[in-house]
């Protein structure tokens, strides 16, 4: 291993150091609150500054890798870290680099949300922000993890920090309950996943690296019951992170109970990490030449369809906007999974590694680039919606959809921003969400026309679900603009966000609307990020 390679995890390293600094700041500040060091470097300001710098580094890294691909100077081997016997434990290819950028950017937005949500006089603020930073480090590394141990450590690191974050409002009984439930469910899933990994380790002859497992995991072995059990158990753990039905039970309770910024974090950053891992894991072990993988494939198709329907059917009936967004984020993962499954279906021959799997795809296919684009769009629109919910929720002391009645009158900017974010979540043009769905569904249909009819059905179900989701997303817009019952009991006081929050919302609003204009560069970037192996 070369020391120079560490530059690829520079953002994660910097973030870890910064998190420790913030933690130390907290220790010092706890002696003299609001004075001395805490006066000049309060954790709630230091943390976003550090995160912004790290986000910049992550963006620069992703950009450099993309530039290298363009110049033809990129090799997959070059970005492997901690290589043992030719198998890297972390592979920071542009796919990982972009997802880790998304994770850091998401964390940055969540920090702004937290500032507004908790206010100045938050208890244990240094601990809170450093936990957020550690969680983002875990998410960033999970995006690059290409080894069972690395995957397990990253997922577990992310989960542990998330448990504490979910339970952070100690005085709130619901928050504590959310954290505890999340922890119990997560621990069980984690145990199942670890068991599956150990089986996989055993039957492939003591390999932990995914690329090594892929070599050993074929033929009889892949068809054996042990192989199935191993993969199913691992998928339980990943399904838990993504809140796929039927491993979603923790999600509604935790999302509702956790502080809103943490809910936003869990629904975006944590899912980005889970998605990266499942993409890497599936494209390695999936091997459609054997009946076992096609069974996996079908099982996941059914789960994806059920997930979409479940998320939307339950979201329709919610009267609490936070809970509605939580359920709808379950459905959103279903859309993302369509892209993952499209990528999986394209592998027609046994493959050796992640990038080799992608090599078999047609260049210009939309599946994984679509996932990247939709993930980014999802970051913008979901965090945007949560940002408005945080601001409005704090001012109105309510998260009920009814209380948004007539919001257009007292908070025109926030209401129109929320309207755009929700329209984007519903996938209506000309928003970022539309572009993402266009790529994901379009990719599924294009691949589906080439001997995969099930993908067309899945895309059709996705479109039907988008229509269902439009009902409850637009219902909020209707309530905001036309009042819930007739005139509506509009709040007398105008609702205004802080300058920082308004800026954050405005930036995300701009990007949500502007993304479709830059469809070409965005899709080019996403394609070259995924098809790096081709060069």
């Amino acid at each position: 291993m070369q020391i120079g390679n560490l530059i690829f995890i520079l953002p994660a390293l910097c973030m870890s150091v910064a998190a420790i600094i913030v933690l130390l700041l907290g220790v010092v500040a706890s002696k003299r609150p609001h004075k001395g060091l805490d006066y000049f470097f309060p954790a709630q300001y230091a943390a976003p500054v550090f995160t912004a710098i790290v986000t910049g580094i992550a963006g620069w890294l992703a950009w450099t890798e993309l530039a290298a691909i363009k110049a033809g100077a990129f090799t997959e081997q070059a970005v492997g870290l901690f290589v043992v016997n030719g198998h890297a434990q972390l592979t920071v290819d542009p796919f990982a680099a972009i997802l880790s950028f998304i994770a850091f950017a998401g964390t940055l937005v969540v920090m702004f949300l937290s500032q507004d949500h908790f206010g100045e006089d938050m208890l244990h603020k240094a601990e809170y922000y450093s936990l957020l930073m550690f969680a983002s480090v875990a998410a960033s590394l999970a995006a690059a993890a290409s080894d069972l141990i690395a995957i397990y450590l990253c997922i577990e690191f992310l989960s542990l920090t998330s448990y504490i974050l979910a339970a952070f409002s100690k005085t709130d009984r619901r928050s504590a309950e959310a954290g505890l439930k999340y922890f119990l469910y997560g621990a069980a899933c984690s145990a199942v996943m670890l068991y599956g990994m150990s089986i996989l380790f055993g039957i492939t002859g003591g390999n932990t690296a995914l690329s090594a497992i892929a070599i050993g995991f074929k033929g009889e072995l892949a068809n054996s019951a042990a192989g199935w059990v191993a993969i199913m158990f691992v998928l339980v753990g990943l399904g838990f992170k993504l809140a796929l039905v039927p491993f979603h039970f923790w999600a509604p309770d935790t999302y509702e109970g956790a502080p809103t910024p943490v809910t936003a974090f869990l629904s975006v950053v944590s899912k980005a990490a889970g998605l990266a891992v499942i993409v890497r894991f599936l494209t390695v072990v999936a091997n459609p030449a054997s009946p076992a993988s096609s069974m996996w494939y079908w099982m996941l198709i059914v789960l994806t369809a059920v997930t979409m329907f479940y998320g939307n059917m339950v979201a329709i009936w919610q009267t609490n906007i936070k809970r509605m967004l939580a359920y709808s984020s379950i459905a959103q993962v279903g859309y993302l999974m369509i892209g993952v499954l499209t990528a999986m279906s394209s592998q027609v021959v046994p493959v050796d590694s992640f990038s080799a799997a992608l090599r078999n795809n047609n260049k210009g296919a939309w599946d994984l680039p679509g996932v990247l684009i939709y993930m980014f769009a999802y970051l913008l629109m979901n965090l945007g919606a949560f940002a408005v919910v945080v601001v409005v929720g704090k001012r109105l002391k309510s998260e009920a959809i009814d209380s948004y009645s007539g919001l257009m009158k007292c908070a025109p900017f926030l209401a129109s921003a929320l309207a755009v974010f929700l329209i984007s979540l519903a996938g209506i043009p000309p928003t970022a969400g539309f572009l993402g769905k266009l790529f994901i569904f379009g990719g599924a249909i294009m691949t589906g026309m080439d001997r995969h009819p099930e993908l067309i059905v899945l895309a059709a179900l996705g479109i039907i679900n988008s229509v269902i989701s439009a009902y409850y997303y637009l219902n909020v817009v209707r309530v905001m603009y036309f009042g819930f019952s007739g005139e509506g009991e509009a709040p007398a006081e105008p609702v205004r966000g802080t300058f920082a929050m308004n800026t954050v919302i405005a930036v995300m609003l701009f990007l949500t609307l502007a993304m479709i204009i830059f469809a070409r560069p965005v899709s080019d970037m996403a394609s070259s990020a995924v098809y790096s192996g081709l060069k």
């Binding site: 069980a188 068809n223 054996s224 199913m232 309770d253 009936w317 129109s416």
Partner: protein, 686 residues
Amino acid sequence: MIEYAWLIPVLPVIAFALIIAFGRKLHGEGASVAIGGMLASLVISFTIAAQWFLGGASKLHDGLYSVVIPWMPVAGKTIDMGFSVDALTIVMLIVVTVVASMIMIYSIGYMHGDKRYPRYFAYLSLFSAAMLALVVANNILLMFMSWELVGLTSYLLIGFWFEKPSAMRACKKAFLVTRVGDVGFLAGMILLYLQTGSMNLFGEAGVFEHLNEIQGFVHVGPWMIPLIALAGLLLFCGAVGKSAQFPLHVWLPDAMEGPTPVSALIHAATMVAAGVYLIARMYPVFLADTSHIALNVVAYTGAFTALFAASIGIAQNDIKRILAYSTVSQLGYMVMALGVFGYAAAMFHLMTHAFFKAQLFLGSGSVIHGTGTQDIREMGGLRKKMPWTYWTFLISTLSLCGIPFVTAGGWSKEEILTVAFFTNKPVFIAAVIGAFTTAFYMFRLVYKTFHGEPRNHEIHVHESPKVMLVPMVVLATLAVVAGYVGTPFANGFEHNLAPVLGEHYEKALKTALESSGFHAGFHWNIFWIGTLAALSGIGLATIIWLKPILKIEKLEPAFGWLAKIVENKYYIDEIYQATIIRALMLAAAMYWFDKWVIDYCIVNGVGYLSLILAQIWGWFDNNIIDGLVNLSGWMTGFGGRVLRQFQTGVSQQYIFLMVVALVLMSIVFLVGHLSEVKWVIGFFQQ
């Protein structure tokens, strides 16, 4: 400046966004922003026009400035966005920006005190932006998107006073009827894309370069229609809807329910002109069809519409409806001109018509503003009370009638007649009769509105404020001077417009014209025919309504009973109508035809059919669908209850459920692969 042409549609969009966001907080409650944006677009348009025609930019860019930006990858190809500037674009840009800005200024006065005042200007800006985007687009997809946006915003504008049920119905009707045509446009667009592999209009890979490759035929019954002709016909469907050609013209008269400035904008210069612009822009498609099937359909549809709508105009009493039918008729003229190879003539008439018809609508708005009624039977003698309105209205009317030498409309009508004379005699005759009828009903309108004695003394007439008069004066001026760019003696208009088609199709157009014996220039015989038609129309109107030679008393015995019933003098015009009913029989028949055959039999027939279907559907709905809905509602409710059972909040149960799911999935897998079941059984047997 040409490279900034994209700003022209973008500025009104920004104005729209600002007004929607800030509304009444803006200066002038949003009106200033809308007008500012529009005037900025106007300045850019004029600068570009000056550079293009006078500054030699046309030669510099070889007649076409086009910018293409790759936008979105689709199935291995790229959909582009972009804008182009050529003579056709510039003409449209000037027409739209001039008329739109004048109408916005006028609206300050007309819409004063409306409760949705800022929103009105926001819609107006968005509408203009859509129209301008349609004009500068160099890509069929972008054209279609703007085209639809024009339709959507016109829906918002026509139904602006949505409290009125009639306005609600009108905007729905406009939206739906034009949508029928849009389906044709969409199909034509897809056909062209499939055949040429491009959405771009210009350039090496563009649609126009590959039109010769479209060779196939479509069999429709016994006929064989070339594919290219089909493409032309489909595109023409779009134009029929938007430009209110027969039989899709029914939306336009109803659309008068919108505020009058909206009528002026939509029904004079922009939306209805969009269809004509579409044919002109896609003219190479029509010329590439050497059988000229599509062009003949265009010509006869236009000629029939021109005649048909003009005759209906005679029998109307609503000032805006008369103008609406007049618009339909004039659009028929333009479409007809395009059909008989009068490419430049049609665009020239589009331009002059935009100015004088916008002025006429604004004038009628001023009359309505001053009198509070739209019924010309209630008016009369407004000449003295509203001098400015009267004189500007009269100038535009003369322009519409095509009085030669002094008015713009005279020059453009002359040009259309000249082309039609050589290329298609039946169309020429229809055009001449149309010119006569137009002059007749327009002067009926003028006499009844402005001349004679006031018929309703309860109406207190007042002249409109200056902010409304200035745009009217500007447009009336343009209705006179705009014609001098295209006189037959020195036709700068045609000279500049013809190269837009490109070398190949310009030659094709020239060949088609020359083969019919056409030669440009001034023709005395055609001049006299056209002039006499217009003058005799005016003369007939004069002897009936201004100096009644056809005295009512002489005809009274025959209709005495009628006269007794209608003694009230406000209804004297009803008797006029009844007495000269023989002369107007044709008009009445046409109106009857329109009202009963088109509106009643076809539209209502379809409506009735759909009513029956609706009843069947209703039964189906009540019994089957509602059942299903109730079932699904019950199931969702039930499902919700069931799911709530699962979502107990008890962690132990959650984990238990996860394990159950895991076991179930395992069983599914093992059953799905029986050899494995054997393996498991074998495992236990050991």
